[in-house]
C-alpha cells in the first residue's frame, strides 16, 4: 500500500468544498472501505488523498410516509437488523444478507456499493427493482438521479467531478425477493443475482439481474406479459426472455450458458417468493 493523506471532514459542506479543490485523479473516496482497501493493498490504485465520509452524518435513515431514505454511509448491518426495514423491504434484506460476511457488512455501506458500481453487486439489482434513486451532492448543489442512470460500469458511477452520493431513496415498501447463485454459498461473489419486486403503483413486476459485466440490468416485463398474479406460462415466458437478456459472459466463476440457466430458474423463484409475500400480506 502506498502512503496517502486521509481527510475526514465532519460536515457535508466541508466535504464538498474539499473535494472541489482536490486534484483530479489523485483522490479516492472512502465510505466503508471494504472494496477500496483491497485496491489500495494490491496497489491497483495509489491515490495521494483519501476523502473519508465516515464522520459525516450520513450513517442513518429516515421514513417520510412510505418512503425510506438511507444515508449513504449507513453500515449494511444496521439496516439488516432493523425490524421495520426487514418487514417492509424483504428483498433488500435478502440482498444485504448476500453481501460478504457479517463482519464485512458491519463496515460496508449502500453508498459505497453504488459508488463502486461492481458488476457483481448484490445490492444494485435490488435497488433497480425497487425503483430506487440516489441523492447526489456536489459543487452545484443537490440533485436526484435514478439508480438506473447512476450505475454505468464497474468503478464508474455517473457522477460529475466533485460529486458524492449522499443518500438512497426507496419510494415505497414492496413485496420483493433477492435470489443468488454462487460456487460457495457463504462469502462468495454471486455469478447471478435476481431481484424481483412488485410495484403497487402500476401493478407490474420489476425484475433486475446482476452478476455479469458491465452492470446489473433492469428488465421491464410489460403489464400484459407479467401481471400481478402471472400464470405459470406467462412467468415462464418472462423468465426465459429475462435470461436471454443476460449477456453471454463466461469467466472463472461460471459460463454464460450456465448463468442463463440459473437466471431463468431464479426469476421464476423470485417472483413466486415475492408473490407469496404479497398473498400473505394483510
Amino acid at each position: 500500500m502506498s502512503s496517502f493523506d486521509l481527510v475526514a471532514p465532519a460536515s457535508e459542506e466541508e466535504a464538498v468544498a474539499w473535494l472541489a479543490r482536490a486534484p483530479t485523479g489523485e483522490t479516492a473516496v472512502l465510505a466503508g472501505g471494504t472494496d477500496l482497501l483491497n485496491d489500495l493493498e494490491e496497489q491497483r490504485i495509489a491515490p495521494r488523498h483519501l476523502l473519508s465520509l465516515r464522520r459525516l452524518p450520513w450513517n442513518r435513515w429516515s421514513w417520510t410516509g412510505p418512503a425510506l431514505t438511507i444515508g449513504s454511509t449507513t453500515p449494511l448491518v444496521d439496516l439488516e437488523y432493523d425490524p421495520k426495514i426487514r418487514s417492509e423491504f424483504p428483498g433488500l434484506i435478502g440482498a444485504i444478507e448476500a453481501v460478504g460476511s457479517v463482519a464485512l457488512r458491519a463496515r460496508a455501506t449502500l453508498g459505497g456499493n453504488l459508488g463502486r458500481s461492481g458488476s457483481a453487486s448484490d445490492l444494485i439489482p435490488m435497488l433497480l427493482a425497487l425503483d430506487a434513486s440516489a441523492e447526489i451532492v456536489g459543487p452545484s448543489g443537490r440533485r436526484s438521479v435514478p439508480v438506473d442512470a447512476l450505475v454505468v460500469a464497474s468503478r464508474r458511477p455517473a457522477l460529475d467531478p466533485g460529486e458524492l452520493i449522499r443518500s438512497v431513496l426507496l419510494p415505497e415498501p414492496r413485496a420483493s425477493a433477492y435470489l443468488w447463485q454462487r460456487i460457495r454459498p457463504a462469502q462468495d461473489v454471486s455469478h447471478v443475482g435476481v431481484a424481483a419486486a412488485f410495484s403497487p403503483g402500476d401493478g407490474r413486476w420489476r425484475i433486475a439481474l446482476g452478476g455479469v459485466p458491465p452492470r446489473a440490468i433492469r428488465i421491464h416485463p410489460g403489464a400484459s406479459e407479467l401481471p400481478g398474479r402471472p400464470s405459470k406460462a406467462a412467468l415462464e415466458a418472462a423468465a426465459r426472455r429475462a435470461a436471454e437478456r443476460l449477456p453471454l459472459a463466461t469467466d472463472l466463476r461460471a459460463t454464460g450458458e450456465y448463468r442463463r440457466l440459473v437466471a431463468h430458474a431464479l426469476v421464476i423463484r423470485a417472483v413466486e417468493a415475492a408473490g407469496a409475500m404479497r398473498e400473505g400480506a394483510p
Binding site: Q181, I183, R184, P185, A186, Q187, D188, V189, L252, R253, A254, T255, E257, Y258, L261, V262, A265, L266
Partner: protein, 737 residues
C-alpha cells in the same frame, strides 16, 4: 484418556506463539524473489543493476551463487535457472533490502529478458485424444509406473459386462493460513534458518542437497506453524533466504504474500483417471486403471506421489486380476506438491464412485457390494502385500446402519452416499525422542514442531504419561533445533504418533529401567515403576516405597539439566510382490487405516447446487490415544474434504498462469458449508503405533469427495465425475446445459 486440553491453546490464544510470519531480528533485511513473468522461456539476460541502484539493496542471481557458498560446496541443481525457465513465477533472482516495500520495489526493477518458448499447459492440450482405449502416448514424462497381476485378458474376455469410466480432478492448494516464511542468518561457517516447517530435519537435508553445504554446518529451527497440510514438508524459501543473508551479511526475512503462496507453493495439480472393471457373477474379476497426473515442473525421478497414490486406485478390495499404470506428466506449472493424504482423496473419489456405479448397475446395495470383497486381515493387495489388521469392513457395517437410520428420518429427495477409504501411515520413516527428567519435571526433547493437529503436543506426550502413570498434561514437549534434537523424519504421512510417539514411549521404558536400576529393582518390578508429583518434586513410586527423583540424579546430571534417556523407533515397512511391478516404483503400505464415511446431500435438480446436510465419519484408528484430539482432527479433515469435493480448484490458464490466486476466488469451505459431523471409532484392529495406535492426520480427508459424489449420485441417478462438483458441473451432468 483425555481431558488434558491442548498445551498450545493458551500460548496461541495469548498471541505468544511466534509463527514464521512473526520472526524478526535486529538489523534484519527483507528478501523478495524475482519471478519469471512467463511459464516457459529461454533466458536472454537478467539485469540486476536497476535493483542494485536502489539504496541498500543486495541482489543475487545465478552468477552470484557459487561465490556465496563455501568452497567445495556441491549444489545438486542450480538454485536459479541459467538457461531456461519452466514455470511462471519461478525465481530467477532474489533481492534483499532494509524494508519489505523496498525489497519488493527492487524485485520489480530487475530486468528479465526471456525468449518465449512453447508452453505445455495441461493434460488436455498435451493429450487431446485421451482417455481412449489405449494407453496415453506421452513425450513429456516425469515418471511412469506400471504393475500387473493375474489373468487380466481372461477376466475381461469372460466378463458379463465391463464398466469403463473417466474421472477428472482439479488442482487443490493446501492454503495454510500462515504463508511460507523464514528468517535466515549466516555466522561464519554456520548457516541457520528459523522457519515454519513440518520437517526440520527434512528441510536441513534439502538445504544440504540444494546448497551443497554439509549438514553439520546447517541448523534448522522450527517456529510455530500456522497450518501446513503437506505444503511445508520441503525447503522452499530457505535456500534463497540463506543466500541473501550471506550476500547482505544480515539476517534476512523472506515471506510470501498470499497471492505468492498460491503461485509459488507446491500444490496438487489436475489429473485424468480411467477405470475399467470386468464383472462376472456379480463380482469384479478384473480391473485396469490408468492415471495421468499433471506434476508440473517436478524433477524427473523425484516423484513419490505417482507410485504411491496409483496403488490406491485399485481400491481396498480383493480382485483376482489387476493392472495399474500411472503417468506423471511434465507441464509448465510449479512442481507438484503433497496435500493432506497426497492425491488419495482424488483416487478414492474415482474408485469409490466407480464402485457405487457398479453396484447400481448390478442392483446391489452399494455397502453390501463393498463388503463382499473388502479386505480384511490376511487378504492380499493387488500389489501382493498381505493386509494387516484392518477395520474397514466393520466401519462399513456401521455405515450401513447409519444409512438405514437416515433414510428413515431424512426428507425425500435427499441423496445418501457411502464411501470407504484407506490410508497407510508413514510409520516406516523413523525417529528418535529424548526424555529429560529433572527433580521437578519430565520433558520430551524432540525435533518436531506442533503443526496444529495435536500429534506432537498431545500425541507423543500421552503415551509417556500413561507409561509412567502421570496425569494428562504432566509431560512437557520441548522443541529443539536440528543441532540439538535427536533425529526425526518429520510431521507427515500421519506418522507422528505412530513413529515418534513410539520412540517417546521407548524412551519412557528406558527411563523406567534406568530408575529401577538406581533403585535396585529390575524386570517385572521395574515395569511397575510410576512417577508421582509431590510437594517436594517428582518421586519414583516403586509400589512398596517411594524415592525422590532428586536423590536419584547424579551431581553431573543435576548440573546439566537432568537425566536424559533416548528412545528410537525405526519401523519395518511392509513389502509388496516386486514381480508384479513392471516399471517404476510402487510403495508398500505400513498400516492399514480404514474409514467409512456417510454423506447426506440436498441437490437442486434445476441448477445443480449441492448442500451437505448430514455427515458421519467412522474411523478405524487402531487404539485411540486421545479422543478429543482425534475427533477434532476428523472434523477438520472432513471440512477440508468438503472443499475438495465441492469448492476448491486452482484454475490454470493455457499460458501456465494461475488465474485465481486469492482467497476470494479459491474457495475454502466456511462453517456455513460444513454440517455437524458425527464421529465414531472402530477399535480392535491395532496398528504399528504405541499399543496399537494408527495415524489419523490424513485418513479423515480420504473418503470425503467420494462419499459426497455417491450421495449426489443417489439423489440424481447421474454421475458428476469431476472434482470439484460445482453446481455448474452438476447441472451439466443433469444435461441441463
Amino acid at each position: 484418556m483425555s481431558g488434558a486440553g491442548r498445551a498450545d491453546a493458551p500460548v496461541k490464544l495469548r498471541g505468544a506463539a511466534v509463527y514464521g510470519t512473526d520472526l524478526s531480528a535486529e538489523g534484519m533485511y527483507w528478501g523478495a524473489l524475482v519471478p519469471s513473468p512467463i511459464a516457459h522461456g529461454r533466458i536472454r539476460s537478467i539485469d540486476l543493476a536497476p535493483a542494485r541502484a536502489l539504496p541498500g539493496v543486495v541482489a543475487i542471481g545465478a552468477d552470484e551463487v557459487a561465490g556465496l557458498l563455501p568452497k567445495g560446496a556441491a549444489a545438486e541443481t542450480p538454485i536459479f535457472p541459467k538457461e531456461e525457465v519452466v514455470y511462471r513465477g519461478q525465481p530467477v533472482a532474489a533481492v534483499a533490502a532494509p524494508t519489505r516495500a523496498l525489497a519488493r520495489e527492487a524485485a520489480r526493477k530487475v530486468r528479465v529478458d526471456l525468449e518465449p518458448l512453447e508452453i505445455w499447459g495441461s493434460i488436455d492440450t498435451l493429450l487431446p485424444e485421451w482417455p481412449g482405449a489405449d494407453p496415453p502416448r506421452i513425450g513429456a514424462l516425469n515418471a511412469h509406473v506400471h504393475a500387473r497381476h493375474g489373468d487380466l485378458e481372461g477376466a475381461f474376455r469372460s466378463a458379463d459386462f465391463v464398466l469403463a469410466e473417466t474421472y477428472r480432478t482439479s488442482g487443490v492448494h493446501q492454503v495454510p493460513i500462515e504463508p511460507h516464511a523464514c528468517l535466515a542468518r549466516v555466522d561464519g561457517e554456520l548457516w541457520t534458518v528459523e522457519t515454519s516447517t513440518q520437517t526440520p530435519f527434512g528441510c536441513r537435508e534439502d538445504l544440504a542437497s540444494i546448497l551443497g553445504i554439509p549438514e553439520p554446518q546447517l541448523v534448522v529451527r522450527g517456529s510455530w506453524v500456522g497450518g501446513a497440510f503437506g505444503s511445508k514438508g520441503s525447503a522452499l524459501l530457505e535456500p534463497y533466504a540463506l543466500l541473501l543473508a550471506k550476500a547482505s551479511g544480515r539476517p534476512v526475512k523472506l515471506q510470501l504474500s498470499y497471492p505468492e503462496e498460491f503461485r509459488l507453493g507446491r500444490s496438487t495439480l489436475p489429473s485424468v483417471i480411467r477405470i475399467e472393471s470386468a464383472v462376472r457373477d456379480r463380482r469384479v474379476v478384473g480391473r485396469r486403471v490408468r492415471l495421468v497426473l499433471d506434476t508440473g515442473a517436478s524433477l524427473p525421478g523425484r516423484d513419490f506421489t505417482l507410485g504411491y497414490s496409483a496403488g490406491f486406485l485399485l481400491g481396498p478390495y480383493s480382485i483376482p486380476a489387476v493392472e495399474v499404470e500411472g503417468y506423471a506428466l511434465r507441464t509448465h506449472k510449479p512442481p507438484f506438491g503433497p496435500h493432506r493424504a497426497p492425491f488419495v482423496p482424488q483416487c478414492t473419489f474415482a474408485v469409490e464412485s466407480h464402485t457405487d456405479h457398479l453396484a447400481h448397475r448390478l442392483g446391489i446395495d452399494p455397502v453390501e457390494f463393498r463388503r463382499a470383497s473388502v479386505w480384511t486381515e490376511g487378504a492380499t493387495t493387488g500389489l501382493g502385500q498381505t493386509v494387516g489388521p484392518f477395520g474397514l469392513d466393520a466401519a462399513l457395517a456401521r455405515a450401513a446402519e447409519i444409512v438405514r437410520e437416515w433414510r428413515a428420518t431424512g426428507p425425500p429427495g435427499h441423496g445418501i452416499g457411502v464411501a470407504g477409504g484407506f490410508w497407510s501411515t508413514g510409520t516406516g520413516a523413523g525417529g528418535e525422542a529424548r526424555l529429560r527428567l529433572t527433580p521437578t519435571e519430565l520433558e520430551i526433547e524432540q525435533g518436531e514442531r506442533e503443526i496444529g493437529s495435536g500429534s506432537v503436543i498431545r500425541g507423543i506426550a500421552v503415551g509417556v504419561e500413561q507409561r509412567l502413570g502421570l496425569d494428562a498434561g504432566a509431560v512437557r514437549v520441548a522443541y529443539l533445533d536440528t543441532a540439538t534434537a535427536p533425529f526425526d523424519s518429520g510431521v507427515f504421512g500421519s506418522r507422528t504418533v505412530g513413529a515418534l510417539g513410539q520412540a517417546a514411549e521407548k524412551a519412557a521404558d528406558a527411563l523406567r529401567t534406568e530408575l529401577g536400576r538406581r533403585c535396585g529393582v529390575s524386570g517385572a518390578a521395574a515395569e511397575q515403576i510410576r512417577l508421582r508429583p509431590s510437594p517436594e518434586g517428582l518421586v519414583v513410586d516403586l509400589g512398596d516405597r517411594r524415592r525422590a527423583v532428586r536423590e536419584l540424579l547424579t551431581p553431573e546430571e543435576l548440573a546439566r539439566g537432568g537425566l536424559r534417556v533416548e528412545g528410537r523407533h525405526y519401523g519395518r515397512s511392509g513389502t509388496i510382490d516386486e514381480r508384479r511391478v513392471l516399471e517404476g516404483s510402487f510403495h508398500p503400505f505400513n498400516d492399514f487405516v480404514g474409514a467409512a464415511h456417510v454423506a447426506e446431500v440436498a441437490v437442486d435438480p434445476e441448477i445443480g447446487s449441492v448442500e451437505v446436510v448430514r455427515y458421519a465419519a467412522i474411523h478405524d484408528a487402531g487404539r485411540v490415544v486421545d479422543p478429543t484430539t482425534a475427533r477434532a482432527g476428523i472434523e477438520g479433515g472432513v471440512a477440508m474434504g468438503i472443499g475438495t469435493a465441492l469448492l476448491e480448484e486452482t484454475q490454470w490458464g493455457a499460458d501456465g498462469r494461475l488465474e485465481n490466486p486469492s482467497l476470494l476466488d479459491y474457495r475454502l469451505p466456511t462453517l456455513a458449508e460444513v454440517p455437524p459431523i458425527q464421529v465414531e471409532f472402530i477399535e480392535g484392529y491395532p496398528g504399528a503405533g504405541p499399543r496399537g495406535a494408527k495415524g489419523l492426520g490424513e485418513p479423515p480427508i480420504v473418503p470425503v469427495p467420494a462419499a459426497i459424489a455417491n450421495a449426489i449420485f443417489d439423489a440424481l441417478g447421474v454421475p458428476v465425475g469431476e472434482l470439484p462438483m460445482t453446481s455448474e458441473r452438476v447441472a451439466r451432468a443433469l444435461k441441463r446445459l
